[in-house]
């Protein structure tokens, strides 16, 4: 009986329903400055996935004490720099962006991150011709 239960548990562990974890994911970032001629498509890595959370039966009395609320966010991050083409001399053509090396489920740090429920995606669309220029990157490792 004990062996049967153990085998069933192992079988269930293999095939139990689960959703994708919080993992680094490829992402295309579109960068457009008003003073520059082109919208630049930059391939980077972001954090995306599912994290465990739990509501509380006693939130009215104890507040958030037994709540578990976490989001998929950057664990280790590296900053890369891209040079935007078609920018006038007086405009700053340098654009620095984060690249996720690893991700984890954690609270949102308000000192470094903009914490939102669902942010507007207007900034990710281009209004100018898209450019895929060679990117000269200066890797500045910033491990959080």
């Amino acid at each position: 009986m004990e062996v049967t239960v153990f085998n069933c548990w192992l079988f269930f562990l293999m095939f139990s329903p689960a959703v994708p974890m919080c993992l680094p994911t490829d992402f295309t970032l579109y960068v457009e400055k008003p003073e520059c001629e082109f919208c630049v498509a930059i391939n980077t890595t972001i954090c995306m996935g599912f994290c465990y959370s739990r509501d509380s039966n006693m939130r009215d009395i104890l507040g958030p004490r037994f709540l578990v609320q976490r989001g998929c966010t950057y664990d280790k991050v590296e900053y890369h720099t891209a040079i935007l083409p078609g920018c006038p001399i007086e405009a700053n053509p340098v654009f620095t962006y984060p690249v996720a090396l690893s991700c984890h489920c954690s609270a949102c740090r308000t000192d470094t991150d903009e914490c939102a429920h669902r942010a507007s995606m207007d900034g990710t669309k281009c209004t100018k011709p898209v450019s895929h220029p060679p990117i000269h990157t200066l890797v500045m490792a910033a491990i959080l």
Partner: protein
């Protein structure tokens, strides 16, 4: 990262110990099947040495019985996994921020969509009746 790998290895060794114990007791009737399943788990664990165990078994947001309060009658609690992501803040959005942040984090959390108040041993408790992934109000630090 090393601790996560150690925890994964510890988890697998616990399974091995259990198999050895049941074999020693002479009660193992299907050692071949158990060893086959264990080999499969070891292969999975070896393929992903950096698995974060806090994310393992991330099941969907749904009602589950709260055993602490479920004495006289069942009390349910919303728990499970919801989608979230973090990405570089778009330039246009960054210009509207009082304090520009390089990273934007969008998160949803498993919370009760509907609940009703009940009394358990004189304590007011909310029994959840429906769950959904919605706004996280307490995930900031």
């Amino acid at each position: 990262m090393i601790m996560k790998y150690v925890l994964s290895f510890h988890w697998v060794t616990e399974i091995i110990d259990k198999i050895i114990a049941t074999t020693a007791m002479g009660s193992l009737k299907s050692p071949g099947l158990s060893l086959l399943l264990l080999s499969f788990l070891l292969y999975i664990a070896d393929s992903y040495p950096n698995i974060d165990l806090s994310n393992m078994g991330c099941e969907e947001c749904t009602l589950r019985k709260n055993n602490l309060f479920s004495r006289e009658r069942p009390v349910y609690q919303c728990m499970g996994c919801c989608f979230s992501r973090a990405y570089p803040t778009p330039l246009r959005a960054m210009k509207t921020m009082n304090i520009p942040k390089n990273i934007t984090s969008e998160a949803t959390c498993c919370v009760a969509r509907h609940s009703h108040e009940i009394l358990i041993a004189g304590i007011s408790v909310r029994n959840h009746t429906d769950c959904h992934c919605s706004t996280c109000y307490f995930h900031k630090i």
